[in-house]
Amino acid sequence: MFPLVTITLFLPLGGALLLLIWRSATPRAAHAVGVLASALTLVGAAGMWLRGAGAGFSQVEQLPWIPSLGVAYRVGVDGISLPLVGLTALLFAASLVFSIRMTERARSYVSLFLLLETACLGVFLSLDLVLFYVFWEVTLVAMYFIIAGWGHADRQRAALMFFIYTLLGSLPLLLAILALYLGSEPHTFDVRALVATPPLTGVAASLAFLGLLVAFAVKMPLFPLHTWLPDAHTEAPTAGSVVLAGVLLKLGTYGLVRLALQMTPDAYHRAAPVVAGFAVFSALYGAFAALGQSDLKRLVAYTSVNHMGYVALGVTAAAAARGAERALALDGAVLQMVSHGIVTGSLFLLVGALEDRAHTREMGAFSGLLRATPAMGWLFVLAAFASLGLPGLAHFPAEFQIFLGTFGVWPAAAAISVAGIAVTAGLYLRAIQRVFFGKLPDRWKLLPDLDARELWAIVPLSALTVAVGVAPAWVLDVIHRAAEAIGR
């Protein structure tokens, strides 16, 4: 069979290596390689989407690697990972299109993004835990260099904090992976085997689950392990923020489903009420913290904490529930990952476009921009409405299912976290009102609207926001088949 998965996975890396060797590449040529490689990857991801995914793992490709240790190169997809692969390919293409005007060390910039793309795809596609961990750590290294190399004023500190925080988080993951390996009989790192028969029981399972939870809670991030996020986001370059929020946070929630929920289900079930408490608090905390921000980028960053809290709540409800509610909550959680990627990606791009023009992100500095920059304004309004959960836009079907699924298990938790939506609605409406409505001051009269490059990056995301919101079935069907299988 044609190894589409492997080719899609390593296409970006190929682009990165090409740029590493091609030392005389001009910034234009470097960006051309970047856009081309990420576009081809998007085509590959589309091909994988057309092939589809059933209830279990499909499109599996494997090669022996270290048979003595039960390690192999195994990649494949199921209904949980396939939408995330599509999301990753899309957001990287959008980010690279958006950054084509970046001339400062463009060759290194594009190669790091392409390396990061392969690493992110690899995390979603790996069906072997050693491979999973390899890709997981490479995302960290690539992102560190992106923030440290092309970030804003305080980038060194933010990058260092990001690196140390997430490395500290990923090492418990390594321990948990080793525990899963040593608990399996015969010893293997094969995800399919570990999912089919969760290897650990009792205290060992609980400890492994704890390691997984810490690792993924840092990445998501979940309160109280979220403190790296606002700084990393505000200091990262725009495209870096898009990828960080749109894709890297999903690595944490994906891991929560794939490893914690599927490989230590009983331990997760026992700990579910506590985790749900953290998730609800995290969602509310993110909403209220976002309410307190005047910097637009920080505001969007904090709403990520809020939305990821809902994802964690959905997965946790699935761990606690039995039967139909389980699949419902899990459907919602996975769809929420996709929606958040699209919506927050476009929000960060829009804030980045605004900052490129105005050289500030302070809400108070703006007023009435809708008159000067209508395209930017309306696209922002659309994304903001989607982010606050308006029916008909991407977040609504996801959050609706999460709350419905949670309600069956913990009615109070569902009720409290719905309150978070009211807060996000308030803060987004306030932001729209301040920045885009009101009187347009003279200093912003000549602010140019979005150019073709920015529209090419943002409009596809906006279109998807509507498409997922109006007719979520085309994504949900894929997710549901896998979620139902996990539900049993």
């Binding site: 022996p64 050693v130 390899v134 490479v138 960290l140 190399g149 140390i164 090492l171 390594l174 080793l178």
Partner: protein, 460 residues
């Protein structure tokens, strides 16, 4: 007595060691004839050939020669496969540093001799071989450290020598307890020590002093930063790898036979491991001289190594982890030293070098991330197996401490990475041998993970 046929059989199995010895002697003869470059060429070729002769041994079963005193097993064989090529690369690395000095050829000859000591240690099946290995590798090392004959080098060698002779004396003294209790010098006879715990403890402490000194394990590490800093850079790289791996493997040979009911040596080694990792990383955090930083880093790395020894006999991963980590460690540490040889010892001088010399900078980032244990680099696979071995033998807490130390070590190595990407300035030119050694080390650091099956398949 041994029969003639047996003797020939044993000597065949020892051919790599004999070739290394022969190489050292020929290199010395070349120096006497004032042909230092020929000495270098013979050293490199002889050591590589010895490594080549080791290859076929992998196919045979574990055995021993000279009535069990010298082992031909996975540890002994892999020590040869790793340390002989490493020594050849060190000789190449030393060439630009010692070229044109008096007695240049003796450096190459001493390198081969000293490596022989490390190989004897790694394959020891008898306490006499432990003593022989420690002495053989120490004597050569003293001379190598003192080679530049300036004040710093002399002071460094003096400290190293005093520390070394006291440690060796303690070791020999303590080993007499084992001999007294077992009536034999064979390690395999240690199993009777279960009945005489006091003698077991006394001997164990002695072995830990002697081998701990060789491997620079806390609290026997005090000589290391001074000796590394006073010695030529290539010799510092050498000391941080070859004797260290030899001593750790020797410790594993002892651990295979030492009964755990006589003395809880696993716990003792675990405590030493924690002390080494933690102290090494904390001390490295405040160094500005990069050779001293690498010295403390190698003290920390030996702590991870000890995880594998702790698991010997309790987990099938133990020997695999020691071998894989040794190979990865040799590659990444040698590579890091090769970059220090180009960029200089002073951290302040490193600002911007990563931008003006991008390939060297990238290589250094890879070596350092591998030392942290970031996948898919060699150091990660070594640590993965070490942690796995520790958890498998019931020392999960030790793996947790080791992991926290890995995070701490990130702070150490980022102190070298971050300044490299400041505003660029002109980088010093690279000597060709440095580039060569760096490239080989880089290739191994990156590729060990891909070819891991080759290493672990024979070690089940």
């Amino acid at each position: 007595m041994m029969s003639g046929a047996r003797m020939v059989h044993d000597l065949t199995l020892l051919s790599p060691e004999l070739l290394a010895l022969f190489t050292a002697a020929i290199a010395l003869a070349c120096e006497m004839l004032r042909r230092p470059r020929l000495a270098l060429a013979i050293t490199v070729l002889g050591l590589l050939l010895a490594a080549g002769l080791t290859g076929p041994l992998l196919l045979g079963k574990d055995t021993s020669v000279f009535m069990g005193t010298f082992r031909v097993d996975a540890l002994g064989i892999w020590a040869k496969l790793v340390l002989l090529p490493t020594t050849a690369l060190v000789a190449v690395l030393a060439y630009p540093e010692v070229r044109g000095t008096d007695r240049e050829g003796t450096v190459y000859s001493l390198l081969a001799f000293t490596t022989l000591g490390a190989l004897v240690l790694a394959a020891a099946g008898d306490v006499m071989f432990l003593v022989l290995g420690v002495l053989l590798s120490s004597l050569g090392s003293f001379a190598l450290v003192a080679y530049p004959r300036d004040v710093r080098a002399t002071e460094a060698a003096m400290k190293y020598f005093v520390f070394g002779s006291v440690s060796s004396a303690v070791m020999i003294f303590g080993l007499t307890y084992w001999f007294g209790a077992t009536g034999s010098t064979l390690l395999s006879s240690l199993r009777v020590l279960g009945d005489v715990p006091l003698a077991a403890v006394a001997g164990l402490i002695a072995v830990l002093v002697g081998l701990g000194y060789k491997a620079a394990v806390v609290p026997f590490h005090f000589w290391a930063p001074d000796a590394y800093d006073g010695a030529p850079l290539a010799i510092a790289a050498y000391l941080s790898i070859v004797p260290k791996v030899g001593a750790i493997f020797a410790l594993a040979q002892v651990a295979r036979n030492l009964p755990a009911e006589a003395v809880n040596w696993r716990l003792l080694l675990a405590v030493l491991a924690v002390a080494s990792m933690t102290y090494g990383n904390l001390a490295a955090l405040v160094q500005t001289n990069l050779v001293r930083l690498m010295a403390y880093s190698s003290i920390a790395q030996v702590g991870y190594f000890l995880l594998g020894v702790v698991a010997v006999g309790a987990s099938p991963l133990a020997v695999q982890s020691l071998v894989v980590f040794a190979a990865a460690y040799a590659a990444m540490n040698l590579g890091a030293f090769a970059v220090v040889a180009r960029f200089g010892r002073d951290l302040e001088g490193w600002a911007g070098l990563g931008r003006s010399a991008p390939w060297t900078g990238l290589a250094m980032v890879i070596f350092l991330l591998s030392l942290v244990g970031v996948p898919p680099l060699g150091g990660f696979f070594g640590k993965l197996l070490l942690f796995g071995a520790a958890i498998d033998s019931g020392y999960a807490w030790l793996a947790v401490v080791a992991i926290l130390n890995s995070v701490l070590s990130l702070g150490v190595y980022l102190r070298m990475i971050v300044p490299m990407y400041r505003q660029p300035k002109a980088a010093p030119a690279a000597a060709r041998p440095l580039v060569f050694v760096g490239s080989v080390a880089l290739a191994f650091t990156v590729a060990i993970g891909i070819g891991l099956q080759l290493v672990v398949s024979g070690l089940q």
